[in-house]
């Protein structure tokens, strides 16, 4: 059953108001949580297990993707006790490479961007075709971009129907909807786009492509978490969250988890419902995790780049 667009509902999503100054104050408070010793170890491991290890460059090679997959399965060879990441995230044409590298019984999921990533400026039929091809090639999860131009021009119906169409094309694959918040301009818009995406069929909402700055800022993430909370309390349906882009250090990742715990609670503190779209974050998490055992920081060069 495809969700149907309702102008009245869209007006409601657009009427949500966010006060930026107080959001910033809330963020500054959350970021002062002091995470030490056992709780730090626990959150670092959790963050590692939530990573969608990502490479989305024009210059991506099969070798790079294979190495990314190895890193996703075993983030650090000498520490097999560290968790694997949640997924790898690649362009559709590299999905077969990842599928071959990870094997059929993989625990690491394959996420693929689709729908004319990162701009989304291609016709819907091509977006659908690209999605179907990625799923057919073995993608477990599809990261689509919304049509920001349509959203900013007020054409909510176009954004909605595109998401619904891609959701239908996903089949069993989970759909992550990228709002590209850096182009939405205001938190009010982020609040509205989050609700629109959720109602159109998103399994996850995701901040950014990573190609636009600012990407996953804390205020944007909080507003999206609040949209997820509202939806859950109204319907009982859980929606996942994926901040992506700009999260490079372990401390930020842990503070993101503070926000999740204090906004959505324990049920979302799992890779099933929360992901980090990141490439360099993994290495900082590894550096922090090994420091606990070694007593000193390893050189960043000790960890492979993908």
């Amino acid at each position: 059953m495809t969700p149907t667009f309702s102008p009245a509902a869209a007006r409601e999503w657009r009427s949500v108001r966010v006060d930026d100054a107080t959001v910033n104050a809330r963020i500054s408070r959350a970021r002062k949580r002091s995470i030490k010793t056992e709780s730090k170890e626990r959150l670092l491991r959790l963050a590692l297990s939530m990573i969608d290890l990502t490479t989305l460059e024009g210059a991506d090679t099969p070798e790079k993707v294979r190495s990314l997959c190895r890193k996703a399965v075993t983030p650090l060879a000498e520490r097999p006790d560290f968790p694997h990441t949640a997924a790898v995230c690649v362009y559709p044409n590299l999905v077969p490479i990842a599928a071959a590298a990870l094997g059929p019984n993989r625990e690491v999921k394959i996420a693929s961007v689709a729908t004319g990533f990162p701009s989304g400026h291609v016709p819907l039929r091509l977006k659908v075709a690209e999605t179907e091809a990625a799923v057919k090639a073995g993608a477990d999860e599809i990261d689509m971009v919304i049509d920001r131009g349509a959203f900013l021009s007020g054409d909510d119906e176009k954004v909605f129907s595109e998401i619904a169409a891609i959701k239908a094309a996903c089949g069993d694959a989970r759909l992550k909807v990228i709002l590209e918040t850096g182009e939405l301009g205001t938190l009010d818009n982020v609040a509205a786009a989050s609700r629109l995406a959720i109602h159109a069929g998103a399994d996850f909402i995701k901040t950014s492509t990573g190609k636009i700055s600012p990407a996953a800022t804390f205020p944007v993430v909080l507003v999206m978490l609040e949209a997820i909370r509202e939806h859950y309390l109204e319907t009982g349906v859980m929606i996942g969250m994926k901040p992506a882009g700009g999260i490079r250090d372990a401390k930020s990742a842990m503070h993101h988890l503070v926000l999740v715990a204090e906004t959505l609670g324990a049920a979302w503190m799992t890779p099933e419902w929360y992901r980090f779209g990141a490439s360099s974050l993994a290495n900082d998490l590894l550096r922090q995790l090994t420091r606990r055992e070694d007593g000193y920081y390893q050189s960043p060069r000790r960890f492979s780049v993908d």
Partner: protein, 497 residues
Amino acid sequence: MSNTMNKRKDDKPTLDLAGALDLSPAPESCPVTIKPRYGHFIDGEFVDGEGGFATINPATGEHLAEIAEGTQAEVDRAVKAARKAFEGPWGKMSGLDRGKYLYRLARRIQEKSRELAVLETMDNGKPIRETRDVDIPLAAQHFFYYAGWADKLAYAFPGGVPKPLGVAGQVIPWNFPFLMAAWKLAPALATGNTVVLKPAETTPLTAMYLAELMQEIDLPPGVVNIVNGMGKTGAAVVGHSDIDKVAFTGSTQVGRIIMRQIAGSKKRATMELGGKGAHLVFADAPLDQAVEGCINGIFFNQGHVCCAGSRLLIEESIAEEFIERLKRRVEVLRIGNPLDKNTDIGAINSAEQMGTIERYLSIGKEEGATTWQSSCPVPDQGFFIRPTILTGVSQTDTVVREEIFGPVLSVLTFRTPAEAVKKANDTEYGLAAGVWSEKTSKLFEVAHALNAGVVWANGYNLFDPASPFGGVRHSGFGREGGIAGLWPYLADQGGAA
């Protein structure tokens, strides 16, 4: 994999918030040595005094230090030293040079901010998060702000010749011990007055530490004198015949006693007294942020805030849902060791205040209020009260009319802006209020209709040294902060001091 879980029997989804984030202890280390006994600081010297009472750590019950109880003779000596400094070096000093001392003191406070924050937290019970991020930095800002005014006083009185009053007697409360000392001292010194300060008996330690800093920056002897003691000592300070100006922050009850005491004298006074702040949330407010405002309004400093937003007035159409939002947010507040950097709500300052709050909670129950408290575990020792929300109360109830001075929020509803304003103003107090709405015209209209010294729009408990603060009606008179904070310490334009 199912997208639905955590469903209760009544099929209403709930969030598993309490305990979702298990954080290991993160205590701030203690960089200060507390002396076994503190006397007074008179004429630039630390002197021991007579008698003594204990100051304790309210989070543990631990004895921190013994404090001397100032006598009339000691108050006399302090006032005399202040008078001598006023007629001597301080009174003759240029504003530019006075400003230099204040800048130096402000910088010294910044340098010693961690020591001050820890000391304040131990003596008062408030969380280190607040002393570190609010009390101490804001105190330093007040000194910086008024240091800037010291050589520009003529601009505060265009066309006039401002002159200091003389010796100020200042009595400060226990809820913001160091910050209130800064609010009182900074404008008094910037304007060229000298001071006799009486800290609160349960929280004297940071004032005595400030005295050490004043010695270190070579503040001339007698400019600031600190006499410790209880109410009697405070009465001796404000009642002293050679005091020109009285500045008091504390309860309305004590404020009345002081006003009676100084009636008929030439003394000028400013009073910053109690409050029962109304916090208005309209249906068109940014709701999640309004929740945050309510949290800041009533659970900041365990609700030991004269301007606390202790009466929440919600538009009826969103009331039920808003209270649910509020409870969810309160559920993730952490109560516990105030020195832990993750503690949101610390200890109640004293057994006496704890008793007062508990008494109000039982009165509330007797009068028919529904009491809700968060589920956060509370330490076994020390004085702690869970954040509390009282619903089903009305304008006539004691918990709506009287200042509780604790983490207790009374919730009322309204239907129209006019009703909201009427209920908000239905109090003998008038210190502060807050309004939440995304409609600017409504914000302005309601804010101007509220009878309070301070009104915050889409925010609460936001402080800035440049902004005047003070009350109307039984919340007091006179302003602290901003240009208006200078006026109570200066003689009328062109007049003689």
